[in-house]
């Protein structure tokens, strides 16, 4: 089988998850190409070598520019802080590599547009790491919606709330700096936008309210001595209108005590409802209006082999997938898209559209008004590559 040689940059939280996914994908799914963990880049050669040994990469480098230029590398996989997504992806595209980039795509939508345009020009395949959209529950929900099981969509409520910066004595590191992170809670937790688009379709208009709650934080690993000023939002709320006519609300917070992975959504349709909470990531709650009145109730559907993708991991229902396994499905989707020479979902066009939603939220909040979104001219229909 033809190999797909991966060059990965960065070995933090996401880097480790990606490395495991590249390694295991071909065992768990029948892939059209055989991924090979070829080259790993880190900040210096020694660290890169150590990590390469741990993560099972063949070679390593302390210079990511070498990696993106390496003729043996087919795919560049970017797992670095947000500010490096743009230069790395642009360089990789310039070398004709397929690019797998962690979210959010760019530091801002202008970068994301350039990145999407460059990828399109170069004809390379791209994927953005919106891993929660790869939870089989999301595929199941999308399937149910498309088959009309909950009828016409009326309402979408989405949240992604966590508490990793709820403690005011905790340094925000690079995440609170505009030039390093771009947006704040919205940048970290924009996963909920990917799910809104996947499940409820394009957003046409929105009105948002962003807020910094803790204005300064202790200087942290970024090496500043004085308290650091927080430059991006701690929490964000939005009203949204979808192209379908449904309306909804979105919320992100990094200061919501007690929420560890509060990615939740509820969709009400004319024939039923679907409810999800990532903290119970193997359950979909489904209300069918067609059940007999005295026997109606939300059904707690536990993932099992009858549902999308689950059987690859386990033949027995209810045995539970974890966060890391979402990344394997993401890799599978990207490898298939590359082999089949079609757009993956979510590719850079979708990543750009998500960033456009975030940018519109920022404008809306600053100008205290509703903002319309331009429909993406060249993007694929949501999820059609999935």
């Amino acid at each position: 089988m033809t190999q797909l040689r991966v060059g990965m940059i960065g070995t933090g939280f996401m880097g480790k998850a990606h490395a495991l996914a590249w390694r295991n994908a071909a065992t768990l799914f029948p892939l059209p190409l055989q991924p090979v963990a070829l080259l790993l880049a880190e900040q210096d050669a020694a660290l890169a070598a150590t990590r390469a040994a741990e993560l099972g990469f063949v070679r390593s480098t302390g210079n990511w520019r070498e990696l993106v230029a390496d003729p043996e590398v087919d795919v560049v996989d970017i797992c670095t802080p947000n500010d490096m997504h743009y230069p790395m992806a642009m360089a990789a595209i310039a070398h004709g590599k397929h690019v797998y980039c962690e979210k959010p795509l760019g530091l801002n939508v202008a970068q994301s547009r350039e990145m999407a345009a460059a990828a399109a020009s170069a004809g390379v395949r791209t994927m953005v790491g919106f891993n929660y959209a790869k939870n089989p529950i999301a595929a199941l929900a999308r399937q149910m919606i498309q088959q009309g099981e909950i009828g016409r969509l009326l309402h979408f409520r989405g949240t992604h709330t966590e508490d990793y910066l709820a403690d005011p004595n905790r340094s925000g590191g690079w995440r609170i700096l505009r030039e390093r992170a771009g947006m704040g809670a919205l940048g970290d937790l924009c996963h909920i936008v990917s799910l809104a688009l996947l499940l409820a379709g394009d957003i046409e208009e929105l009105c948002a309210d962003l807020q910094v709650v803790i204005p300064t934080r202790p200087a942290g690993p970024v090496g500043r001595e004085a308290p650091t000023q927080v430059e991006n939002e701690d929490q964000a709320h939005a009203l949204v209108r979808f192209a379908s006519g449904a309306i909804g609300t979105l919320e992100c917070s990094r200061v919501a005590w007690g929420r560890k992975n509060g990615l939740t959504w509820e969709i009400n349709g004319s024939e039923g409802s679907l409810v999800f909470d990532q903290e119970c990531q193997n359950e979909l709650h489904y209300f069918a209006a067609s059940d007999p009145p005295a026997r109606q109730g939300f059904r707690r559907i536990l993932l099992g082999p009858e549902h999308p993708d689950y059987a690859a991991f386990c033949p027995a229902p209810g045995h539970g997938l974890g966060f890391n396994e979402q990344k394997v499905i993401e890799v599978r989707d990207f490898v298939e898209a590359i082999a089949q020479r079609r757009a993956a979902w979510p590719d850079f066009d979708v990543g750009r559209d998500i960033d456009a939603v975030l940018a519109a939220m920022e404008v809306s909040s600053r100008e205290r008004r509703w903002v319309k979104l331009e429909p993406g001219a060249d993007r694929p229909a949501n999820g059609d590559g999935a």
Copy 2:
């Protein structure tokens, strides 16, 4: 003990609940006045007499104007459809009666302002039936907030969603008609606004999005032959900014399949969080940031005799109060306010403020913009009468 003689109008859903509350309050709580179910009004004398026998009223009448004028009546209790709140309350106030009125106060905020002003001029005591604010959980949460147990408030998410009009083949009766009901989902489910005010304080500014989802419905009990046009919103979303600096979202829906009493709220503060769902009405979920890191988690606090008001109903914890028992606490609060010659909470001033929030939502949605709310000049601090 001095008696408090009650004249009640209407015997539907709320009328029955009120009648039970009036009857049982003095057994469950030590009241300063002894309520007497004296006079009941219904649409005609025969129905009134039948219901009076069932509900234990001493006398009855087919003419509510007689009731509000009856010299033996101390309190007029209005349990009719929304359009009758204004004329009945105004007449009762004109006769110097204390008035207990179901929510929403008026058909619109103009009526509500008149009602509040009239009550103030007449020096009568008033109460609006926001019974969910009387759930002991609400009192417990308010106590915890006021004692600083979750620190400074950052975020309030409130929903009140139900599915009583999710079926497009169901007639909306008077509820979908502007002249009979005033607002739609917001009118029915404005309870969530009462809880927002009680727990998070005054709302200063909001931006809302209201929507009719099902434009026509079968003619129903109101006797129209052709399909009825739906004149008020099926679902409503809003961004809100509180005077305290906290921000939040509010949602109401009468078309959310599967939600039977989806009155929920989550409050994030700088030291912890509180979460509630009326469908599990005896539980408060509390996250304390001060718990040791490896032992943190939302605590599911079940109501018991250590909490406000519960012991009156049951000496054993976790035995569960029901919807109707909230009304008993409401009656207790009103009777105490009357005896102590002070404002109850929520009185007509608060009812007017809630209607002002609803009215602002309507303006905001129609004009697609943020709307500021004028602070109520003469209203008591939230819940101080509670």
Copy 3:
């Protein structure tokens, strides 16, 4: 309408709940007889008079023997500690009164047999206060089982666990004394046996394990100076075999920290399952094997007007009944049985059968062996009076 004149003895936890139920039953349900709270007995005349005023009884007495002999009393309602059930009920029966007695029926099964036999001889109607069997969920579950919705019953797991004596520094009062309480956790929490019989039918054989966990407790309100020895079990477990062929387990505990009303049951049948937890007393969880494989899951059915008895309390679904409302249904059932001259469920025969199960548990535990139960010769089929 003919009156049913009630004489009630005792005004503690249960007395108050009974008083409210007698008062409200005829408003909530169309009753064939009109209950009248006629006579109340307490330990002395003064206390009786005070409580009668609070609870709305017409007359009072400090001597329960007067009450059971009072010619105007039709029903004697016994809400006293366990040791008084037998003498009071026997006296009431001797005077030809119908008897409503709190659980457990006697201090031991010998007493219960006498009580049941006496009632049968006298031809009076009886009821034992197993109020959780009156939760509409129980009626719904029974209906579903009888209609075959979960097929043949295979397994019943029942628990009733609480933590009211988990603190070793808490006095057990009369509850830990054999002569006052009879059994311990099983005596208090034998509700789960009533539900096992109602839902799964007669128990034929059992093997139990009873244990005192905290052997001595501080002397408490019973007035002993030295620490009191605990004379009955803190926790009890049993294996059971039902006449139907189903098997199961039962557990009771009064030392289970965190459980406030841990009355739970799960029933697995050949076509589905039912699951219940009294701490969420308005929900039945129902799994239907006939649902499509990829859409299966426990349905959370919230009580509503489509279900038994709920509509009497509230026309809107999901609004939640409380513990006290179960007692109203119990009273309704008893009044109907009296009027219709038939056995109520659970009457003294059933109360005796439940006590026979408890007694068999005690023998089984003491003798470390399985014990067979004799089928009750003259008892009605389970729940047929319901």
Copy 4:
């Protein structure tokens, strides 16, 4: 680093999970030995070769006897149906290999005793695949118990219920045959016994009730033409007494509709309680009696980096581990035990003790009596190798 060369037999449900665990363990944890997936055995050479390619093994064989004798193999990993555990493990031990065997250890306790004795004689390290004991929640709970956080243990309720054979039209395959599977539901779901031992300690005495619910099933993949007689239990209940003085109940079922992985346990102690449900495998519910009375409630602790083993998989809390990740921890434990020349937990001695519990249940059920268990003479204290 020294290699640890693995020879694995079988590639079904467990084989795949083991292969992934061997592959990923050294990336996720700092291991003292480097596992190498060296040799794979399947039923014939062709299948073995195919699977070896998929699962990443270096070599393959159609003959497991070659594998256990292969001088390059250090560890034999047995992932076959139950009847092959004994001959394969005995052969591997005879060749001086360390052995990792899926549960249950033997087809019966006699086999298990032989296997444990042989391993002890040969001085090889062993591990039995009770993977749910490797969920970090189990380690957290054990830690809390050992630190006295819930005080003295009083009660353990354990269940492992599933519905994989609830459908009577489903063939049971080899699982229902005594000679192939040994026991039935207890054989498959004896995981709950491993957790009882780990968390509550040795079982001293028990009384059990086993039952076949569906006596015959369609002939399935085992190739019998007539309906197959079910030879082992569909459901099993037991009362247990622990050496610590705690008492408890255990239940296993393969016919419990709706339960997909109903491995649950509740432990009540003198200072608190712990509750777990594998279907929500990342949550531990903890009640602390020391919390202030009005703020008590079960805390829902979500796994995070403060808890055992989690951080290896993910630095962010609440992101969720899956079933397969439990196997990685199991492999880590085994590799460490081998390197450190000490017993792993649960090794063959523990596997034998678990089988002794199962065997005692069978005797108890057949003879309808309590059965005492002999304490294992040479086994390590529970979990001390963990």
